[in-house]
């Protein structure tokens, strides 16, 4: 009796021991290196499926390196998961992060400089081929941390057929155009809602830029949440429903809105260019795309994510990880990914592939995001990005639900952000 019980008790630690050998094993001898890879998806489209297929192809082509991809939700959930695992001592090897997340991870000193790694190993990374607009953001203190992979801008999608039916033949180019087009659409009952602008801080940043000032400040310990431009931008959002009646009242979910658009219920949609392919394919009408309509100027945040390698992983895995990154950013893979999604090609070599050229023939709308890059700025970044972003999101939600005025909501957000960032100044 005693022996069987103690045997039972002893197996528990043994289970955990043999279990824990998983991610930390060096596996040097017969060396199939296993990499774990976290990736988020925050754009409409069957992107998780495409990602899985891409990774499978990598695994087939590299029998000695097996990558295990894990979908981790949207960017915020992805970051939370990463922070948790970094703290828990079992981080993944490779991850996709947005720019704001990159800073939070750098604060934790959790990311590997890629230029150093490329020098140490014999894997050459064509840093020069990546668009500076994308690559430069991943640099800090002279080191390059990320390789651009799924980059986007915020663009306007519109139901060209419906707009034509109400006599609007040109794409809306200004804020006022959007309102008037939306009003006409609803008057003739072409759609259920004229305009939907997802209640998200990323898209909102575009409006703020267009109204005159970026949300980003000059350094990472400050943000500009309650400037006159920011208030104007948020007020316009509120007015879309409160004053002009072209949008539904309340919070608009950025993952639900595209479905409403493709289903013909919404006439004009602001969304990431990363959902271009699926939006066009799912719509039974002609889809037009355009820059985010301007106010004082055109403007858009860049979005999406880059590929990063985590720092505290065994050395032989870093080499394998860099091989994976290099492969994923090769023109063939980059073209495949951009064609499946609508994400902007991250490097020049991708644009010259036949696959991308053929895609452009079929979907000339894909040029919109690329052309808009001249007006694009890096997305919101600061220390404690999750918390700071949360404060801004609260303000947006409060304003569009009518719980607070745009000005007071943003003032609260600024105070909150300042108190969070105070510890970093």
């Amino acid at each position: 009796m005693l022996s069987s019980m103690s045997a039972a008790l002893l197996t528990v630690p043994a289970l955990s021991a043999c279990g824990s050998s998983g991610s930390k094993s060096s596996g040097t001898s017969n060396s199939t290196v296993e990499l774990s890879f976290f990736y988020p998806v925050e754009a409409a489209g069957p992107l998780a499926t495409t990602m899985t297929a891409l990774v499978n192809d990598f695994n087939k082509a590299h029998p000695k390196i097996q990558v295990k991809p894990s979908f981790t939700g949207d960017y915020a959930t992805n970051l939370t998961k990463l922070l948790t695992t970094v703290k828990g001592g079992n981080p993944p090897d490779v991850a996709i992060l947005s720019l704001g997340d990159q800073l939070t991870m750098l604060d934790q000193k959790a990311l590997q400089p890629l230029n150093e790694l490329a020098d140490e190993t014999d894997i050459s990374i064509p840093f020069d081929d990546f668009y500076p607009a994308f690559l430069d953001e991943t640099k800090q203190d002279g080191a390059t941390y990320g390789l651009p992979f799924q980059r986007s801008a915020c663009i306007l999608y519109y139901n060209a057929d419906a707009l034509n039916a109400v006599g609007v033949t040109a794409a809306p180019a200004t804020w006022d155009d959007v309102v008037s087009a939306g009003t006409k659409l609803m008057a003739k009952k072409q759609v259920q809602w004229g305009v939907q602008f997802p209640t998200g801080i990323w898209q909102y940043q575009g409006l703020a830029i267009e109204a005159g000032q970026d949300l980003n400040a000059s350094d990472l310990s400050h943000v500009n949440f309650n400037t006159p431009a920011a208030v104007t931008a948020l007020q316009w959002l509120v007015d879309l429903s409160a004053k002009y009646g072209v949008s539904p009242k309340g919070v608009i979910d950025g993952l639900v809105a595209p479905t409403a658009f493709t289903g013909g219920k919404v006439g004009i949609l602001y969304n990431t260019s990363g959902s271009l392919t699926s939006v066009i394919q799912q719509s039974k009408f002609k889809v037009g795309t355009a820059f985010m309509p301007k106010k004082e100027a055109y403007g858009s945040p860049t979005g999406g994510g880059n590929l990063y390698i985590l720092k505290d992983i065994p050395t032989e895995r870093k080499r394998a990880a860099l091989t994976f990154l290099e492969w994923m950013t090769q023109p063939a893979q980059g073209a495949r990914w951009s064609v499946a999604s609508g994400y902007i090609p991250a490097r020049k070599a991708i644009v010259s592939t036949d696959e991308w050229k053929a895609f452009l023939q079929k979907y000339p709308q894909a040029n919109t995001a690329t052309d808009e890059l001249q007006y694009a700025v890096p997305s919101l970044r600061s220390h404690a990005s999750n918390e700071v972003g949360s404060a801004l999101l609260d303000a947006m939600q409060a304003a569009v639900s009518g719980k607070a005025s745009a000005a007071s909501a943003l003032s609260t957000a600024q105070k909150k952000a300042d108190s969070i960032l105070a510890q970093y100044r």
């Binding site: 005693l2 019980m5 008790l9 259920q192 539904p248 919070v251 979910d253 939600q397 639900s401 510890q423």
Partner: protein, 306 residues
């Protein structure tokens, strides 16, 4: 069963022939896990809530009651406290009342009652994530079932999860849908324990069904009702899964219940000290509810039994 020995005292209902160590060995395995994963964590939270530990100060340093001062001046925490209490105070009684209605309806023989029994009970075993997903789809704005229904009834479109005034109650609706059948099980057992003679006597005296319910059933059902109410309060207090899947605390923190806030504070913002303090507050309130159960319910039970 005579052993031949004279009985010196009444047989105790316990085994005598074991070494003094054996009971402890029997209890040890389970107790080990209970101590490691329940008792120790409580102590850990109490201690760690007195230390500052967050992303800006990763090394824990003793700060006394500073964390408590911080959370009680943090509007988000206070709101989560208020939201949770409001939710519990409304959703728990509503689920119990609906459970009682269901119990009454199925407390009879017949095919209808048996078939409907399954209808009311299946949400209990339906995985919570499935339930949340299903209702998320039903409540989706623009093309969810609910919007179709309200448009059909000319009530306009509905987006309960997008509106801070209704999001919490939308979650409550799902919770009630899910839990009412569970409480009905207990209440059914309670109803069936009510002495039918008392009831028939009342009916013979001409009392209508409603009066029977009000004056006879409910008083006798009272201990069960209170027990079920406490269960409901516990369950409502621990809501977090639904919030995570359906609203992530929004819109504007209107569904940010305490457990969700604790989770975000600890894992999303990295503030272990603050999250520990919040957890301690949470546990204290739980203890109050539990004390209510132990002292009030058991006293009632013994009164009834007497």
């Amino acid at each position: 069963m005579s052993t031949g020995l004279p009985s010196r005292r009444p047989r105790p209902r316990s085994s005598r022939r074991h070494s003094p160590v054996t009971p402890y060995l029997f209890v040890l395995p389970g107790l080990l896990f209970v101590v490691v994963f329940t008792v120790f964590p409580i102590g850990w939270l109490l201690v760690r809530s007195l230390f500052r530990e967050n992303t800006a100060h990763p090394n824990p340093s003793f700060t006394g009651l500073a964390n408590y001062k911080d959370i009680f001046s943090d509007p988000v925490f206070l709101k989560s406290l208020e939201t949770t209490v409001l939710y519990v105070v409304v959703v728990a009684p509503v689920s119990v009342v609906i459970g009682l209605v269901i119990a009454q309806l199925i407390n009879r023989k017949g095919i209808v009652a048996s078939v409907c029994r399954t209808a009311f009970f299946y949400p209990i075993v339906l995985p919570l994530v499935s339930a949340a997903t299903i209702w998320l789809f039903i409540m989706t704005p623009d093309y969810g079932l609910l919007t179709h229904i309200t448009s059909f009834l000319h009530l306009g479109s509905s987006a309960p999860l997008a509106n801070p005034g209704t999001a919490l109650w939308a979650i409550g609706l799902v919770a009630v849908w899910r839990q009412a059948g569970f409480y009905a099980i207990f209440l059914l057992a309670g109803l069936q324990a009510v002495d039918p003679d008392v009831e028939s006597a009342a009916r013979l005296d001409g009392a209508s069904s409603l009066r029977v319910t009000w004056h006879i059933r409910i008083p006798l059902l009272w201990p069960t009702l209170v027990f079920v109410l406490t269960l409901a309060m516990f369950s409502a207090f621990q809501t977090v899964d639904l919030v995570y899947v359906m609203t992530q605390g929004g819109p504007i923190d209107s569904t940010r219940v305490m457990l969700f806030n604790i989770y975000e504070t600890a894992f999303s913002y990295g503030n272990t000290g603050g999250a520990s303090a919040q957890s301690v507050v949470f546990l204290v309130i739980l203890a109050v509810i539990a004390a209510f159960q132990i002292f009030v319910v058991d006293r009632m039970r013994s009164e009834i039994d007497a």
